[in-house]
């Protein structure tokens, strides 16, 4: 029986001031098992990215509970949350969000350096990961010199380089054409199979949704 790695309990999140509060998440109860690829879908403004941010500890929430691999997020302080992200999570964003001043390999090795790996170790692991996403030749190129698809593959390598238990992806193919979208999803599924990592993917794309194991459909801050 696969272990539950992510679970929420009556999760609430508000935005804005007292007078104009927006109820972004309305009492969500979800659970995701280890090795699952879960898609979160729904119309714009339904709370998909907010949910992802709260689950990954990037954002706070107002009520309820989130548990990641047995750790309750509310029990963790900011530094512990950072450590959790560094060691157990990887992130892929729609706009790639590579650091523009670092080369491809430097971007990939950064999470390892945060986790305390030596420079040499970090470089060798980063190169391995770049090879997995077939970008070894582009290791010394800056993000500005890479195409959108290449950038997203580097981001994927960066998300996976520290062998995280969970990978969060926010519209990972949102900026890509259909060919690149397919390539990224192939890669993602292949890695999921090889490493049994859990993938939580926020997406608008029916194609991406169709390739996930399960879809959490949201509307107005609720799971429908």
């Amino acid at each position: 029986m696969p272990e539950i790695v992510i679970s929420t309990e009556n999760l609430h999140k508000f935005y804005g001031s007292r007078d104009q509060k927006v109820h972004a998440l309305r009492g969500l109860d979800i659970s995701i098992e280890e090795g699952e690829i879960v898609g979160i879908m729904g119309p714009s403004g339904c709370g998909k990215t907010t949910l992802l941010n709260c689950l990954s500890g990037l954002d706070s929430f107002d009520d309820g509970n989130i548990s990641i691999q047995g750790s309750t997020l509310t029990d963790l302080n900011d530094d512990q949350l950072s450590e959790l992200r560094a060691k157990k999570m990887g992130f892929v964003f729609q706009t790639y969000n590579m650091l523009p001043v670092l080369t491809a390999v430097e971007n990939v090795e950064l999470p390892l350096l945060v986790s305390g790996f030596s420079g040499k170790e970090a470089r060798s692991k980063a190169l391995e990961k770049l090879a997995e996403v077939e970008l070894e030749e582009w290791q010394h190129h800056l993000p500005g010199e890479l195409s959108g698809g290449q950038r997203q593959r580097v981001t994927l390598a960066r998300a996976l380089v520290n062998d995280p238990a969970i990978v969060w992806a926010d519209e990972p193919t949102g900026n890509l054409d259909s060919e690149n979208e397919r390539l990224i999803m192939d890669l993602l599924i292949q890695l999921n199979k090889e490493n049994n990592q859990t993938f939580v993917i926020v997406t608008h794309s029916d194609y991406v949704g169709g390739r996930t194991d399960r879809i959490i459909q949201m509307k107005d801050g609720e799971v429908v």
Binding site: N53, A86, F91, F93, T95, N97, L99, V114, G116
Partner: protein, 1146 residues
């Protein structure tokens, strides 16, 4: 001040104000036409208050520094002037004896006064005359055992004094000289303070005849006739003092007061001086001189000489030109008499005649000279005002030069701010362009915003500058530590206008330039955030570039044609036409660059070559140096062209070219000052303003070199920092960001580099001067006490007879005689003033003063040179003042200079002959041989060697003077060295009747060292003001970085960066940039100091070059801490940003 930055102050203020009004009018019209641009430009100022405040602080510095420099100059000028006017009271001119007497006060007959009184009656410009005796005498309060060895004593003729100046007692009542009874005197309040004497007390006065007691009739307020400033004065009736001194019927001075007060009387000074000189000149003698000078083509010779001297000695050149004019037009009038009666002018004429082979005429003039002037007229008040002006201009120049580094840094900040603003708003501006805004609209938009900053900064800067100037002058007063000088804070409206306008104009020009650059964006690039390379414009065809260049050569014609045709906006073309003096050369240059295309290195190459050739042919150092630097740059640019042709990897090509460009420029600007001396003639000194220019060039070159090699720098730093596991990730990003933004990082590094560079030079040079700490005897000669006596009260007999000689190792005396000297066979064959110090053998046998140069024929050590003087009366040594130094800050020194030795020459010299004669005499000169020159250090401390001085055995003094010259200076070497201060006081008591003034030389050296250090620190502090700008730049940079990198912060937080790591990253980043600047500044500072040291060490044997590690450590510490503090707030803000919020940010 009359002149600021070498230009007439009032006209400059007026010009700047008009320029400002024009600028504001243009801006105002632009704003009225497109108010939306003003709104767009100004809305960010209140929105980002912290950033705006930082920008204003940074920008205000140019105004503040200019305002400080001018304020200090104004205050110094006003104070010196006030002291002079207070000191002189109603006196405008002083008539003195003919100047033939060598020792003591020169007396002349009272009948001369009667003559002057008679001839002055018809002159409306002269209001009053006052005959008097003015001398220095010792005085004491015997009850309290207090003494003053140098009391100014005036004997005033009561018959004239009431009419001349009002004397008031401390209660404000008017008192009269005629009211003084026998044995009664007045003292001024300073005397009262010094000797603790009051009305009714007894005061003792010492004369040659002995000690006399007088009753103090009253204590007078200082000022005017009662003595101005803070000088202690005693006032006698003239008769009483004449009787006391045994000088019945004689006086020393006639004071002359012009009609009117203040400026009115000052304006009459020139006419009154001319009139008096004319009246006091023997017309027959002057006529004879006039006749001699008219013949033999002398007027033409004078004119040629005047032209030759135009650059080097403007004053003499003008005098010679005027004299030549009078002679050519046969105009024997007051003007000619005024010029010819000036003794220095006579000496100059004699030299010129001698040089031109007209020895016979020179002999005739020389023979007539002593009879030409009956009495001398000193244009005292006018001279004092001129002196105030000179001192003030000098002070302003010094502060402006030291401040210019900070001004440059301020301008760099303005530029940086606009680079950042443009980068931050590139998308917004691209959108604005996309919806129809023109490029010039963007220039206007930025200009409006910048003008608001500039205006606010100029106001704040001027206010800060005025405050700073007052603060600094009070510190200066404390440093100078003189009771005779009272600082009165003053700021003139003209200076206020200049500092406000110049700061604003400087800022404005930089703003417009930056706005122009910022507006130069490609719409697609700006909107999509691409690199410029993506949309690089294809170059224009050669024909178009040639046509553009052709049009630009006739720019004004082009503008007129365009205005008529209506091409490109009439108003714009009209404004450009108005600005043609600036725009024309810029347009020619830019179109020339464009025309030359890839071969653009040819343009600086041609200009540099021209400058080099001009520098060599005209022997001008500045042209040569700039030509050399330009040539070095040209080589670098040529290599850049070759790289672009043969190296495919753009980054490698840029690295090679940048390294060569920066490196070669740096090397060419860092060659030793005499590097080219072996191949070419001596070049003229480039002048003080070249220093900041050279500093800026070196800094720019060093930063260019550094930023061209960021790849190497990153590799080295990563290698070093990868050892610290906790910091690996943080340092990687902290270094990568600034290294990627080379332009802004380079600008900030340059700011810190420039300031640290100046501060380092101060620190290192301060260390070099400290040679006096280790070897004080090189200043003091090994003596403990130096004492001078009043020349009118010589010590009769041997001074040693009055002393307990068991207390002393050496006691030696010296006499001083004013002489005239010229080279026997050198270029300087015009008699110039000098001093002859004749020393007793004890001095020659014991002095430890060292030689900067000596002729090895006369000895192999300094000691042997001194001893050589004892054996041959025709041998002398001179002080280092005879070597032309080209000191740009010092007062003009008109005393003798040699043409045989130059500053920086090696120690061995060839002895040379001089001719020396008694001052103002036509006696035959004595030929002497100069066998050595003592080092500049030796004449530093109170040895009175401000002009050229020669040292000889004792007998020479009397021989040159043709009379007995008494000893007036004494050097004492004590057995108990620690007792110098106490023994000085003891000596003053023993020789009170001789007016002895004794000082402990080590104490004085210590005081001078402390003062010099304090001055250094003051200038260091002033120069360090630029650090404020550097720190503000770091602050602005950090604030911008936090805003620009919001998303990146989110990503870093997402991949596990703790908030403290984000803060650390920003702090390391700002420290790293600061450290790079410090590194550049320290390297350049040490390099420049080393070059200066090489020059100094040629004259200062034993000087050691050392970098004051402690001081540099403090400097680095303060700078880094300040930078960290400036980035703490933005770094904290960055660290507190919630990751999700940061990732959402666009």
């Amino acid at each position: 001040m009359e002149k600021v930055f070498g230009l007439p102050a009032t006209e400059l203020a007026l010009g700047m104000t008009v320029f400002l009004v024009v600028i504001f009018l243009i801006i105002g019209i632009g704003a009225a036409r497109r108010f939306i641009l003003v709104k767009m430009g100004s809305r960010n100022i209140p929105r980002r208050k912290g950033q705006s405040a930082l920008i204003v602080i940074g920008l205000m510095l140019s105004s503040a520094i200019i305002a400080t420099s001018l304020g200090i100059g104004d205050t110094v000028r006003y104070s010196v002037r006030s002291v002079a006017l207070d000191f002189l009271g109603p006196t405008d001119e002083i008539i003195k004896g003919p100047g033939r007497q060598l020792v003591g006060e020169e007396y002349f007959d009272f009948a001369e006064f009667r003559n002057i009184e008679q001839v002055s009656k018809g002159n409306k410009d002269i209001e009053a005359l006052l005959p008097l005796i003015e001398i220095n005498l010792p005085a004491s309060n015997d009850v309290l055992e207090l003494a003053e060895s140098n009391m100014r004593v005036r004997g005033v003729d009561g018959e004239y004094s009431d009419n001349y100046d009002e004397l008031q007692n401390m209660a404000g009542q008017t008192v009269f000289i005629n009211s003084l009874l026998d044995n009664e005197i007045y003292i001024n309040s300073d005397s009262s303070e010094t000797l603790k004497l009051q009305k009714g007390d007894q005061i003792s006065v010492y004369t040659r005849s002995g000690k006399f007691e007088f009753l103090i009739r009253d204590v007078l307020k200082n000022g005017g006739l009662a003595g101005g400033g803070r000088n202690p004065y005693i006032l006698f009736s003239l008769n009483e003092l004449q009787e006391l001194l045994g000088k019945e019927g004689q006086i020393t001075n006639i004071l002359v007061s012009n009609t009117g007060d203040g400026e009115d009387s000052l304006k009459l000074s020139e006419d009154v001086t001319k009139f008096l000189r004319s009246e006091l000149t023997n017309t027959d003698v002057a006529t004879k001189m006039f006749e001699i000078l008219k013949g033999n083509g002398i007027p033409q010779i004078l004119l040629v000489e005047s032209n030759d001297l135009k650059q080097t000695d403007k004053e003499t050149s003008e005098t010679l030109s005027q004299l030549s004019g009078h002679l050519t037009s046969n105009d024997f009038g007051e003007d000619f008499v005024k010029e010819i009666s000036d003794y220095q002018n006579q000496l100059t004429l004699l030299g010129i005649l001698d040089k031109s082979g007209l020895q016979e005429d020179a002999g005739k003039i020389s023979a007539l000279s002593p009879d030409l002037t009956v009495l001398r007229v000193d244009d005292q008040k006018s001279d004092s005002v001129r002196l105030a002006e000179t001192v003030a201009t000098g002070v302003t120049t010094i502060f402006s030069i030291f401040g210019s580094f900070s001004i440059m840094v301020g301008m760099l900040l303005i530029f940086l701010v606009f680079v950042l603003l443009a980068a931050a708003r590139s998308t917004e501006l691209g959108m604005a362009r996309a919806v129809g805004l023109k490029r010039r609209d963007l220039v206007q938009l930025f200009t409006f915003e910048g003008t608001i900053y500039a205006f606010l900064a100029a106001i704040v800067g001027t206010v800060v500058g005025v405050g700073l100037s007052f603060g600094l002058v009070f510190i200066l007063q404390d440093l100078i530590d003189t009771d005779n000088f009272v600082i009165t804070p003053y700021y003139s409206v003209v200076s206020l206008l200049i500092s406000f306008s110049s700061g604003l104009i400087l800022t404005f020009i930089t703003v417009v330039f930056s706005a122009y650059r910022a507006s130069n964006l490609n719409i697609v690039v700006a909107i999509r955030g691409l690199k410029d390379e993506f949309v690089k414009k294809a170059p224009d065809p050669l024909a178009k570039k040639a046509k553009d260049f052709g049009w630009n050569v006739i720019f004004p014609v082009r503008q007129l044609v365009w205005i008529v045709r209506g091409t490109g906006g009439r108003m714009r073309n009209f404004v450009l036409l108005l600005l043609f003096p600036v725009v024309w050369p810029i347009n020619i240059l830019t179109s020339l660059f464009s025309l030359s295309g890839k071969h653009n290195y040819l343009i600086p190459g041609i200009f540099s070559l021209l400058l080099l050739v001009s520098g060599i042919t005209t022997e001008t150092g500045a042209s040569f140096s700039i030509g050399l630097i330009g040539s070095a740059l040209t080589v670098g640019l040529f290599v850049r062209y070759l790289c672009s042709k043969f190296i495919k990897d753009l980054e490698t090509g840029n690295q090679i070219a940048g390294t060569l460009e920066g490196g070669l420029v740096l090397i060419s600007n860092s060659l030793p000052f005499d590097f080219f001396n072996r191949w070419m003639a001596d070049l003229s000194e480039p002048g003080p303003w070249f220093w900041p220019v050279g500093g800026a060039i070196s800094t720019a070159a060093a930063v260019w070199l550094l930023m061209s090699n960021t790849r190497i720098l990153i590799a080295i730093l990563n290698l070093i920092l990868s050892r610290f596991s906790g910091l690996r990730a943080v340092t990687k990003t902290a270094i990568s960001y600034p290294m990627a933004a080379k332009f802004r990082t380079g600008l900030t590094v340059a700011m810190f580099g420039l300031i640290i560079f100046t501060l380092m030079i101060f620190s290192v040079l301060n260390g070099i001067q400290d040679v006096t700490t280790e070897q004080p005897q090189r200043v003091t000669g090994g003596y403990d006490i130096k004492a001078t006596i009043t020349p009118d009260l010589p010590i009769t007999g041997d001074v040693r007879a009055s002393l307990n000689m068991s207390d002393f190792e050496v006691v030696s005396g010296a006499s001083n005689v004013r002489v005239e000297v010229k080279e026997f066979e050198g270029e300087n064959n015009t008699y110039k003033g000098a001093k002859l110090v004749s020393l007793e053998d004890e001095f020659l046998d014991s002095t430890l003063w060292e030689m900067a140069h000596f002729d090895p024929k006369y000895g192999s050590t300094d000691r042997e040179i001194w001893q050589a003087l004892m054996s041959d009366e025709t041998l002398v040594v001179a002080n280092a003042t005879i070597i032309p130094s080209g000191d740009p800050f010092g007062p003009p020194d008109r005393s003798f200079k040699t043409s045989f030795i130059e500053s920086g020459d090696l120690k061995p010299m060839d002895s040379f002959s001089i001719e020396m004669k008694k001052r103002r005499s036509s006696s035959d000169p004595t030929q002497l041989t100069v066998i050595g020159v003592i080092e500049r250090l030796a004449s530093g401390t109170g040895f009175g060697a401000s002009g050229a001085t020669f040292y000889s055995p004792l007998s020479l003094g009397s021989k040159i003077a043709q009379e007995d010259v008494p000893l007036d200076t004494f050097y004492f070497s004590l057995k108990d060295k620690s007792g110098a201060s106490n023994y000085s006081q003891k000596l003053e008591k023993i020789f009170l009747a001789n007016g002895m003034n004794a000082v402990s030389l080590l104490d004085r050296l210590e005081e001078e060292r402390a003062t010099s250090n304090a001055f250094n620190k003051l200038f260091q502090g002033f120069s360090g003001l630029g650090l404020v700008v550097g720190v503000a730049a770091i602050g602005v940079l950090s604030v911008r970085a936090v805003v620009e990198r919001r998303q990146s912060i989110g990503v870093l937080r997402a991949i596990g960066f703790r908030s403290s790591m984000i803060r650390t990253q920003f702090l390391i980043e700002s420290s790293f940039i600061t450290l790079l600047g410090i590194f550049v500044g320290i390297c350049l500072g040490i390099l420049q100091s080393w070059l200066i040291f090489l020059e100094i060490s040629k004259e200062l044997e034993g000087a050691k070059f050392s970098v004051p590690i402690g001081e540099v450590g403090i400097l680095i510490g303060i700078t880094i801490i300040a930078s960290i503090l400036a980035s703490v707030i933005p770094a904290n803000e960055a660290s507190k940003t919630y990751p999700a919020e940061a990732l959402r940010y666009e």
